[in-house]
């Protein structure tokens, strides 16, 4: 029954989008972390989506193929009083673009809502299918 597979598809999309939301939260929380776990300033992370094969060949779900580190240049600020400043007084700050992250967050939450909507519509259709002939 192909309608049941919609739950797998929408579910995989929700999982992927929530992971994206998680990464956005990490980026925003660490927007000013001058030292991350490896001692270097925090680098923004981005998720990469790819398709996920499901029971039906043509209909694909979503999976997170990987989380990559943002290669864009770090933010460098002149602040000689900062404890992490180098000899010339420059501090290297994370390359998190807050505007980008907010857009990412909105996009992820809308996509998540869309998946919830898919599930609800499919659930209503399936429930109605069960009442055929009643």
């Amino acid at each position: 029954m192909s309608l049941f597979n919609v739950f797998n598809i929408a579910g995989s999309a929700m999982a992927a989008q929530s992971q994206r939301l998680n990464v956005v939260a990490s980026n925003l929380a660490n927007a000013d972390s001058v030292a991350s776990s490896n001692g270097q300033p925090y680098r923004a992370r981005q998720v990469v989506f790819s398709t996920l094969s499901t029971a039906t060949k043509e209909a694909k779900g979503v999976k997170v193929a990987g989380v990559i580190e943002d290669k864009s240049p770090m933010r460098v600020v002149h602040d000689p009083k900062h404890p992490m400043a180098d000899a010339k007084g420059y501090v290297t700050l994370p390359n998190v673009n807050v505007v980008d992250e907010m857009v990412n967050m909105m996009s992820a939450s809308r996509a998540y809502q869309n998946s919830v909507n898919l599930m609800n519509t499919t659930k209503a259709l399936l429930q109605k299918t069960l009442t055929i002939g009643q």
Binding site: N5, F49, K57, A59, V62, L118
Partner: protein
């Protein structure tokens, strides 16, 4: 000889049961329409789910053509020696890859994704309502027969 004769008589009585035949035919049509609609529902869900996947190409089917193919689909001729035999029709098979089309993007994006959320949502709602309509039609068919059985009462 006698057996053959009885067989013929049986066929005749079966042919006369046109009411059931009609019901079967109508139900068969809606059954296939619902199956095509469900398969399309799945495809559209996949498109919406992959709205942010790079290089994903949105797919869809021509509902009418797929339904026509499903109506004429014959999984192999089954030899029947009586009209009372079933014709071996297994209903709808999954969508053939030749029936799958690519959506032409209205606003192509740089990551190669061709999902246009407005189009997909519109088609999704459209298809859901069609599926719902199919269910209503099937239910009405049963109601008609029930009404005939009860001679119009209740």
């Amino acid at each position: 000889m006698v057996n053959a004769y009885i067989g013929k008589q049986k066929d005749k009585t079966f042919q006369e049961m046109t009411m059931i035949n009609k019901l079967n035919k109508t139900l068969d049509f809606y059954h296939k329409a619902l199956n095509v609609s469900a398969a399309r529902h799945e495809l559209l869900s996949s498109n919406i789910a992959n709205a942010d996947t790079p290089n994903f190409k949105a797919r869809d089917v021509d509902f009418m053509k797929t339904l026509q193919n499903a109506m004429t689909f014959n999984p192999g001729n089954m030899t029947t020696t009586s009209s009372m035999h079933m014709n071996g029709d297994r209903g709808f098979r999954s969508i053939a890859s030749s029936e799958l089309l690519y959506r032409i993007p209205q606003q192509p994006s740089i990551d190669g994704n061709t999902v246009d959320m407005d189009t997909e949502r519109m088609q999704f709602i459209n298809n859901s309502i069609k599926y719902d309509a199919g269910l209503t039609f099937i239910n009405n068919q049963f109601r008609f027969v029930l009404s005939a059985i009860r001679e119009g009462s209740a």
